[in-house]
Amino acid sequence: MTNKKYVLGVFDDEEVLLHAIPNVRAAGTKIYEVFTPFPIHGIDDALGIERSKLPIAAFFLGCCGLAFALWLQIYTLGVDWPMIIGGKPHIALPAFIPVAFELTVFFTAHGMVLTFLIISGLYPKTKTQVMDHRSTDDKFVMAIEVKEGKTDMTQLSNLLRSNGAIEVNEKEINA
């Protein structure tokens, strides 16, 4: 197991944090992650996070659900065991639409949750390391990975403090 070391800049105001992010990035520092108690508008853009590709997965999951629903109904009601229901043809598409709709939604919703868990690496029994517990309460925590020998700790600390961090801490995490 290798240990990773992080420098944590603790902020107590989201506006200060939002202004600090571009300055820290402009200084050539790579921000590992920012932990906040609530979502902050514009923080994704400030951090340069690319848009999630989850909607693309959603579209294809929806297509799978639709295809499955249509296959299920056409095969069972039209091919495998045809029955006359309400005097309608065996394959009566309008009657299949509610089920097709529900299964499309079902596949999309559950598939997206699973996809999200997988791409986020949240498997069962995964232990999440919390950088600073106060980031679930009233503090905003910016984590920067320390590269042994490369990172100038004093300079980084000064950079964070000059941009409004009230504390600068270090933390080791088992990776």
Binding site: H41, G42, R51, P55, F59, G86, G87, K88, P94, A95, I97, P98
Partner: protein, 426 residues
Amino acid sequence: MIAEERLIIPKKTSNRFLMMIGLGLVLLVLGIILMMTAGPAHHDAHGAAATGHHAVTWYERLMSNLWLNSVYFTGIAVVGLFFTTVQYVAYAGWSVLIKRVLEALAYFLPVGGVIMILVFLLPIIFTGHNPLFHWTDHSLYEVDNANYDPIIAGKAGFLNLPFYTIRMVAYFALWIFFAWWLRKQSVAEDLNGGLSYYDKSIRISAMFLVVFGVTSSLSAWDWVLSIDTHWFSTMFGWYVFASWFISGLAATTLTVILLKQAGYMKMVNANHLHDLGKFVFAFSIFWTYIWFSQFMLIWYANMPEEVGYFTERLGGYGGHYTWIFFTNLVVNFAFPFLVLMTRDAKRQMIMLKIVCIVILFGHWLDFYLMIMPGTLRGESGFGLIELGTALTFLGLFLVRFTKGLTSASLVPVNHPFLEESIHHHV
């Protein structure tokens, strides 16, 4: 302090609107003359298809078109008012920058009201009954008459001339009154500022929503459902409302984009368009949902008194309306659904613009499909009369709409949520 922004319509553009009306009227007259001269031959050609019905005259076709366009454009106008009030009641901030477009839509209401009341009443005054509405024929209610229709006679308590006229006048009176009242607050707020106008607007809006909840359904029954007098559908009020609402949203979005491209509304950005795009996307689906709910239950139950409505439109009259029936679904559901699905499509003006134009045409077609089979049977068409009437109405609508847009600042400068709208971010 944010500066006012006045829209100036160049003389050339306002002349173009008047030319649109003029050209529409010329085409309309031309269409009528063509139909009068070609009348008998037309009858022979379609005699077999229209068994049991006399041939449609230019007069009936003109009436149907007048009604179709007035229902459609009045709907867009009242949706402008409806959407404004929804924004007030929801304490919405994002929509403040586009609010003046919504308010201006309602400027068509008085014109629509006058035309609709005249189109309904004039034929009754001169000929005794209105060709659009079968139930206005008084012989249907006379027990000894050969035309006696017990089903329609049973509806006489609701469908009778005095009550119908009172209702129609009441809808317009209420809608115009609320539009005027709300607009008055909005313009006074620009001049004087303060929160009192905003608070009052919320109270007016809440009242209007109650009124509109009732009148939107009632007007849909009166104006559209009563054309097919025997038929009934409990979904119909919602169905017409959904069609109006999506048309109104498309008209609003299109106007915002056109104004932006003309250099106005600079503070409206991709975030506002994104929200409008989401509304257009969502309410296309909402319309489809209502459409399908109405269709599927009737199709599945297959009861003679209900299913006639759809057999007329789907395969009836030698398949006259079948293509419109399916085009309706493709244009108003599949197209906006697939095109507006991505985030980028909703944030870029070009895609949104195309979709809005398609939807505006699509819902005109939707109303065509609601009104024409009941009035013209299998003898409707797309000719000079349709084109002329639609152009005339569009011209009239644009004249009133631009009047509304120019008569106040495009930016409601003293709206309490203006800052929030300017910094809107999704």
